[in-house]
Amino acid sequence: MELTAFTTPPTPVTGQTPKRRKTTSWAIAFSAGIHLVIGAFFVFGDFQFNKAIDLDKNIVQTRLVKLGKERKKEWLPRKSQPKPKPKANPAAVKPKPAKPKPTPPQKTVAKAKPKPKTTPAKKPDPAPSVDRQQQMSDALSKLQAAQATDLNQLIQDKMAAEEDEGQANGSVLGTEVSGEMEASYNGLLSAHIRGAFELPTVLTDAERMRLRAHLAIRIGPNGELLAAKVTQSSGNAAFDNSVLAAAQKSVPLPSPPLVLRALYRKGVTLEFCPIRCE
């Protein structure tokens, strides 16, 4: 009986007519065709989203190269120093009150000018002496200015001014003296957030090597931080908090390029590592 049951052609379960079966077949074929077209569109279509993904593959390994003068390979490394802040020079301000002092003689000069005509031989020409006074006064002012200036600060400023070491075709936002040159939005984003990525020094060496956290962020068209969430915890609450704080302190973020705005609005994931991720 059992064998018979297997060899017997199956009987239709439902009472479909041949016309309805034909319609169903067409519907399945049509649906498959539509899916095929959509699939082909995604696979072979040359549109912006695909370009963004290709770009991303390059971006992940990008390091922004610093703009500056190339350093000789045989020289020992120098630490990058922040550029001296533009500040009001006390030297330029302080001498100003001293300037009125030489002005009274100028008035006498004006009055005395006719005098040489009457007694040119007896009295020396007051004009040169006034000039000399003026020069001496200026020199004194300069000396006072030099004394008032922090000489060490001048040296530091000079040193810092020479600090622009990097590569001639680097970026002003770059942080590496050497590296790959392919600047991109992701590179910018990474460098920008790294500026606010601070960790407490109490972390041990092992923790510095080991800790990793993933932070998912959504970025608005003008660099707004729409959302931020730790998606993969490091297991260290302080580190996770620092990661979150780095993103929050970095607002506004660099504005995503027009063609990538949809992608960054949807969200990107950042991997934070204390020293290096590899």
Partner: protein, 432 residues
């Protein structure tokens, strides 16, 4: 049909992959010291302890500052006095401490029982509102300020999980009159004690692994001989008086051997001696001067300076003299390598292109060199702290030649001696 479905699924899979989030790496955090509020000690009124308690707390603040790990907040800005808050975890007004920028809080109570001071120390995490550390100390009045170093080390360990080095003394050469002597001092530059005697020149001190003895070179008998000094008794013993140089002796980490620079055969080379100074075995035999040996913490390798390539550079070899390899290729005058107790780095001083000596750090695995000091006159003679977190070195930045501490990234540089002339400091290791 199956093929069509497979193709559709494949296409959809690819398209899904194409939309996956990119992973962007953010590497290389800047490390900032942990802001800690160190309150004055709570004492009972009319106990007469105020002065001592204030000095003790001030020394603890200074020690914690020297560690480079903490940022000591100015107590003038605190919103709560010690009397307004007790020590229970739930009694702490965390919001007030958070408002003054504290991530951690350190509190004390102090009393006196006869000649013994009793100090209770409490540490809290302000963020998590939990107790981090609680301990009771008793110390005779003579030892009260030594207690500051002990408390600082315990607090350091409570927050970092690593041993503190504030109780570990530093030895160095100091100019005394017309000569130079071996001295030992606390990390804060206090209690400087002269260890070597006589009127002759003494050089290059180096602690034994048990920190109870110091190797050094002395011209006591005209020749630069290698001596061993007992720190407690100040008794000395001559270990090597071979003709020529007997300099830069350093004990192996197990204390069984001494690597030293000798010139008894004409050329200046590195030799290995037994701990009593006998059985010299030559390790280097190259053209040029080989000097300044430094053991790796596992005792398998020795870093040293060699001029065999023209200028002095840092080299490394196995402890039997094999596998000699040049480590530095930058700089013109690299000297005084010291291996980190963690084994990961070698610190050395080098002359840069501006003809200034500075302190540099080399990652042993990658050979990448980073700079510790820069643009602050000459900085030389670096040595690691026993926990590998700090470096002590000499600097002429303030006119004299004083001792300074620095974090390995060059941050938090602090002067510890005041207006003296010091050379070649060495930090006592943890006693084994």
């Amino acid at each position: 049909m199956k093929r069509i479905i497979t193709l559709i699924c494949f296409g959809l899979l690819l398209s899904t992959t194409a939309f996956a989030n990119p992973l962007i790496r953010v590497e290389g955090a800047s490390f900032k010291p942990l802001p800690i509020a160190v309150t004055d000690a709570q004492i009972s009124k009319n106990s007469g302890l105020k002065k001592t308690a204030n000095e003790l707390v001030e020394r603890i603040r200074q020690d914690l500052d020297f560690t480079g790990v903490f940022q000591i907040l100015d107590p003038k800005g605190f919103l709560i006095t010690p009397d307004q808050e007790s020590f229970g975890v739930k009694d702490i007004q965390y919001e007030s401490w958070r408002n003054v920028g504290a991530d951690a809080l350190l509190k004390f109570s102090m009393s006196r029982q006869g000649d013994v001071y009793v100090v209770d120390v409490y540490a809290y995490d302000v963020g998590t509102q939990k107790s981090r550390f609680k301990r009771n100390y008793k110390a005779p009045s003579k030892m009260i300020f030594k207690l500051a170093h002990l408390i600082s080390d315990d607090v350091f360990e409570a927050f970092t999980g690593e041993k503190g080095v504030m109780s570990q003394p530093i030895a160095a050469i100091k100019r005394v009159g017309k000569t130079k002597h071996v001295v030992q001092m606390d990390v804060d530059g206090q209690k400087i004690k002269q260890l070597s005697k006589g009127g002759r020149l003494n050089l290059l001190p180096s602690y034994a692994p048990n920190a109870k003895k110091i190797l050094y070179t002395s011209y006591r008998y005209d020749n630069p001989d290698l001596f061993e000094l007992d720190v407690a008794t100040r008794k000395y013993k001559r270990l090597s008086a071979r003709p020529g140089l007997n300099t830069g002796g350093v004990f192996s980490p197990d204390g069984s051997q001494i690597a030293v620079t000798l010139s008894m055969k004409g050329n200046t080379d590195i030799y290995l001696l037994s701990a009593d100074g006998k059985d010299a075995k030559r390790l280097t035999d190259a053209w040029g001067i080989d000097t300044s040996p430094s053991w790796s913490p596992d005792g398998s390798k020795i870093a040293f300076v060699s001029s065999r390539s023209g200028n002095p550079h840092i080299f490394v070899m196995d402890k039997d003299g094999s596998n000699q390899k040049r480590l530095t290729f930058k700089g013109k005058y690299n000297q005084t390598p010291r291996w980190s107790p963690r084994g990961t780095h070698i610190v050395f001083s080098a002359r840069d292109e501006r003809n200034k000596y500075d302190i540099f750090l080399m990652d042993v695995r990658s050979s990448v060199i980073t700079r510790i000091t820069q643009d602050q006159s000459n900085n030389e003679d670096p040595a690691f702290a026993a926990n590998g977190r700090l470096v002590v070195f000499t600097s002429t930045r303030d006119g004299a030649r004083d001792l300074y501490l620095s974090n390995l990234d060059g941050s938090h540089q602090r002067r510890i001696t005041q207006g003296g002339f010091y050379w070649t400091p060495t930090w006592a290791p943890f006693q084994q």
